[in-house]
Symmetry: C2
Subunit: 341 residues, 2 copies
């Protein structure tokens, strides 16, 4: 018997999926990217799915149900944008324990509906069932993209620039903050947590947004990335996905990592490495993408996007160039929920 923890995510998924064959002409791309690509006519159909489990992905002691609904939808939209597509429909399956009230589920749906309204998405189905244990949320998102405009993670080339939207590590710091307040809260009955000045970190953790705006502005600037992925498991992990899928290496610069001042302040307070938070924090839902070096000036002129490094040959490996000029190999530490628990 092989325990799952001895394999890790990638090896496990490989073992589970390597015998899968594709047999329909309408299946353009199956497993292995942010979304599956299907072709039903003159548009491509994108499908992506996420499973969120209580105690693993969220903690109901400090996550409001409305925010949970919003976030559950948005993380799926993010996967569709990361293919350069537009989310169009979601299905929602819930396993609910007796402990939850109808009002709590309504709050959850209110968050879902709000996200769908903002992003122009329809809820088109689902399944609701009892759960003997915690809350279980499974969302599938279907989207569309123009033929020839889908951006995969496997086409980054040597000398391409590596770009990232927004800033990194804030959602992770928000989580640390919530976890700390939860611990303090346990001891006091009328405890009121003080989150003043930390609103951004909480928002990034509890109510993340998908970068539709970046997809739109890249399109308007006529920039088609060579590869793209959304940052859900941390920059390191996602960049290694691109490198591995594209058969290339990379260098990123520590002093180019985009970090908000609140993130930096909290890292200081918690005595944590800011770079580690930015590299491995996860749940940023920013876009990580590569563009040909010829587009350098156009990207520089682009709002909300920062060049953090470049793609190199696979033989050079994947590395971070630290502030002092030393080179540190990038390692994927993002995804741990399967091996940790």
């Amino acid at each position: 018997m092989t325990e799952i923890s001895t394999l890790g995510e990638f090896a496990l998924i490989k073992r589970l999926t390597e015998k899968i064959t594709i047999r329909n002409g309408s299946t353009i791309r199956g497993t292995g990217d942010d979304a599956a690509v299907l072709r039903y006519a003159d548009k491509e159909t994108l499908v992506t799915t996420d499973l969120l489990l209580e105690g693993i992905h969220f903690d109901l002691t400090y996550v409001p149900m409305k925010h949970l609904g919003y976030k559950s939808a948005v993380v799926n939209f993010s996967d569709v944008y990361a293919m350069n597509g537009q989310p169009r429909q979601i299905t929602v399956s819930l396993g609910v324990s007796k402990r939850l009230s109808v009002e709590a589920l309504e709050d959850f749906y209110e968050g879902l509906r709000l996200a769908c309204e903002i992003y122009g998405v329809d809820i088109v189905g689902g399944d609701t069932s009892a759960s003997l244990t915690g809350l279980c949320i499974s969302i599938t998102c279907i989207g569309e993209a123009e033929k020839g405009r889908i951006v995969y993670r496997d086409a980054a080339s040597n000398t391409d620039l590596i770009c990232v939207s927004g800033d990194l590590g804030a959602a992770y710091m928000g989580l640390q903050l919530l976890e700390r307040e939860k611990t303090v809260f346990r001891g006091e009955k009328d405890f009121e947590p003080d989150f003043a000045g930390k609103e951004y970190l909480l928002e990034r953790q509890l109510k993340p947004e998908a970068r539709r705006d970046i997809i739109k502005s890249l399109h308007e600037s006529d920039i088609l990335p060579t590869s793209m992925i959304d940052i859900s498991d941390g920059l390191s992990s996602e960049l290694l996905h691109i490198c591995h899928a594209s058969g290339v290496g990379c260098r990123i610069y520590e002093d180019r990592l985009p970090i908000d001042y609140q993130t930096a302040f909290m890292a200081e307070q918690f005595n944590m490495s800011l770079t580690t938070a930015a590299l491995n924090g996860g749940e940023d839902y920013e876009l990580l993408f590569t563009v040909p070096v010829a587009l350098h000036d156009r990207i520089e002129a682009q709002g909300g996007v920062k060049i953090i490094g470049f793609i190199c040959e696979a033989s050079s490996g994947a590395g971070l160039i630290a502030r002092d000029g030393t080179e540190i190999p990038l390692v994927a530490q993002g995804w741990t929920s399967l091996t940790e628990s």
Copy 2:
């Protein structure tokens, strides 16, 4: 605070979904049927999803993982066939507890792949995560259908014939059998259950098939049902869905209910009502559909399909005509997993 158990499934779903609005032209039909209908060009895209939770939908003490994988896929295909469509792709999300071995998950995927091979479906994505508790399975199936050939549940008309494929109640009897053997098994160490002569019941419970053959033969006979649904929660419940959605009533005849002799034999042994098993057993995955009365002879000539009653006006209600000629109102008792636990 309203407890979920006080509402029941339909009221709960209504409360959760009534504020949902549809805003894309590509969404032809959203919540409320076996599958959502999307239009991306000259074919309709069907999407359906199912969530299966350990302890609620399956018991790993007697369900082999390979069978569980097979069944998880097939129950989704069944929903697509019930719209007169063809399943094409599935996504698979799993929440797995530490207790499960890699081999067990491989067995699960083997079952999935087998089902996909037989039904010509591609696995195109998913999500695998840890679960603090039991196994959690979420499958979404995407399918296609010819424009104008989709069969909904809301278009049954007065005088239509009510038809059902295969036979009913066997999967429920298979479950009773497995539950009984499990109880006996608890007392003895080297207990070997004797299932001789009951293979059909076990197969119906553990390895159900979706009725692709019926969809094919109806098509070949140029029969387009006016309404259709697959029987997952019991004949009564599904027939009431059709009646409610179509604004009609119905009469079915007890002596026309198709029942296998093994089912009848086990009902006798268990001292259970055979009719109750056929009406409310669930998990039959047969097709329930209506056709215009003008097609009576063509349906009679159809293999594997039986006429069990007729559609009447809504004011006449929904009833079963018993063997002795008395009339018993139909009630939905199928779906209980949310209120029971």
